[in-house]
Symmetry: C2
Subunit: 369 residues, 2 copies
């Protein structure tokens, strides 16, 4: 695999942590919300193994916030998501598919309710800010919409709990999954959620005070030595094994939430008003024609840079492979694919052709682990 | 300067031309509209020199289109831009700042009027599709909004005219600047505009038929040999010298069009309705407090990866350098900066500090050449 360098510029924003992670050995970047997101610190396999045992600090400033504030804030947030937020509580995070008028996905953020009239939409890679601005303008909502100066630091891995306790005290361990609260670090309050883009446990610090965040970054590495702390980033292997979906990779604005396994967050029976509701009711009634599934592929090497077509043994269209990696756990390639009916059931078999070689593909349920 | 590789995935989309440019020696990429945009084929200086003399073929598929179609299409397009499009003509391209309710910039696309009820917004790097969808939904406009399968090939440089004539005949040379028409290539019609992201002249082919576009790509290189055709991409040096602004680099959603030298396209006296009109009238009345200007910097090396503060000789805030490169023409570094009043006039002098060294900065008008 040839490798290509990334051309940096102001448009591809650095984060406050960039100079630190570059000293610590980041080797590749992706771009996410117009910002550098570290993609590897050397070997993905080594990093995955380390993450599952220890603790890592991640620069995930690219998870940008869209703040919605004002009289109609709750109405606008609800309009954008098919998840019923009418009973949502301050101090909680909500995973919410955002939907357009066609019933298709716009993003899959975590939404934080800061107050009845103040919300953060912690976005995946699309400009939700302009969707919100368009909707607010057209509906004449009284809201302010902007990107606050928040640069998230994630602390992930089983030892993240002990490391965070050393800095923030016992109270941090009482935080429930997807709960958030404010914790003091050297006299500065930080919003910390028990969340993160891995299934290995951990926290996300929504750093608003950049200087204090940088001090915290250094402190995490200093106090983390006993836990073998390392810099890291969302890990392709771990996230596929865990079935953590990625907007733009596994699904996009051409897909609807019922195809993507988001049924739990599609509250069509609720009284709340949201975009695409009628479309989704119709889609549900008619039944979806394809579904996001896991696949296991009989090879031990892949480098996926775009969708690959999967066929059945007669050459018919079977599905589309959208993410994939070699999994040391399964000792083969695993991936996430949009599979067509009637192949959506676990154990259905298809064929993937890569550079003239055919590999057998087996459908399975998500998550893998 | 350390270099970092780009992590590819489906989310960072390849173009139909990617495999070709990788064989032809692309060395670095940026990401633009969630797509790979080539940033260099080896030396920027060599490439700039070649572009000014000969002809280059560019994969600019990352200039995505947002198609707006239907009864209210013209109304929606006009709502988004401060440029008066009431007298716009089919077959013409219009450079149009897009503006939000606050009077700030959302994008600076070229808009193509395909029919009274069908438009393409050829976008810079932000998700205009979601802005348009939000506005259409809120205003209950009857429109379809989608990203068509269009992958632009640019043919740029003084010899582009002779090369294009060899393929499309004399008629292509009659195309006026920012005009477009349909031209036949091997039985397939292609929309071709006289436009492009350089000041060296040339064309953009809005390729809808991918197979034919790939044949055209190969044909351009075959027939271009006599003109010393080379692969290329928007060139940092050439675009700064020419004063071609870049959304996300030189300005963004925190800036208004009157600060960015777009007065010509801000039609506040017109009868048309667009977002932010009252805000912009007020801003104009009060006068802007800063302006995008050219700067010449007394050094022959820079690697700008984010904004840099410029100060005056007393340490007061002078402005913010947003793009910069070494210009072989001026034999020094030139750049684009947001300069504060009272320093906006040409020949005002400031100081830029880079890694402990101070360099003198002189304000000048855009374009440089």
């Amino acid at each position: 695999m040839k490798s290509f360098s990334i051309a940096k510029s102001r448009r591809v924003r650095s984060s406050p942590y960039t100079s630190r992670i570059e000293k610590q050995g980041v080797t590749s970047y992706t771009v996410y919300n117009h910002m550098l997101l570290p993609a590897a610190f050397g070997s993905l396999e080594e990093s995955c193994k380390h993450l599952k045992k220890n603790v890592q600090i991640w620069d995930v400033a690219a998870e940008r916030q869209v703040e919605i504030k004002g009289k109609d804030a709750a109405k606008l947030v609800q309009l954008m998501t098919c998840r019923d937020l009418s009973k949502s509580k301050i101090g909680r995070c909500y995973y919410c598919p955002l939907i357009d008028d066609n019933g298709n996905l716009v993003n899959d953020p975590v939404i934080l309710k800061l107050a009845e009239d103040r919300w953060w939409i912690s976005i995946a890679d699309s400009d939700v800010i302009f969707f919100a601005k368009g909707l607010a303008s057209g509906n004449k909502y009284e809201v302010k919409i902007f990107e606050p100066n928040v640069n998230i630091l994630a602390i992930q891995g089983p030892k993240s709990f002990d490391l965070m306790e050393k800095i923030f005290g016992k109270k941090i361990k009482e935080l429930k999954f997807f709960g958030f609260d404010y914790f003091d670090f050297d006299g500065v309050k930080h919003l910390i959620a028990r969340s993160g883009w891995s299934k290995q446990g951990g926290f996300e610090v929504y750093v608003e005070n950049t200087k204090s965040g940088l001090d915290l970054y250094d402190q995490l590495f200093e106090l983390g030595k006993e836990f073998d702390v390392k810099p890291g980033c969302p890990n392709l292997i771990e996230r596929i094994e865990s079935g953590l979906l990625s907007y733009g990779n596994d699904f996009d604005n051409e897909d609807n939430p019922l195809e993507c396994g988001f049924e739990k967050y599609v509250n069509l029976e609720s009284d709340v008003t949201f975009l695409g509701k009628e479309k989704l009711i119709l889609i549900k009634k008619n039944g979806v024609k394809r579904k996001l599934k896991g696949v296991q592929i009989d090879t031990n090497r892949i480098n996926l840079t775009k969708s690959l077509k999967i066929k059945d043994d007669r050459g018919n269209f079977f599905g589309e492979l959208r993410s994939a990696c070699y999994s040391p756990h399964f000792k083969k390639v695993i991936g996430i694919a949009m599979i067509n009916e009637p192949y959506c059931e676990a154990s259905k078999a298809g064929i993937l052709e890569i550079e003239g070689n055919s590999f057998s593909v087996k459908v399975c349920d998500l998550p893998f682990i």
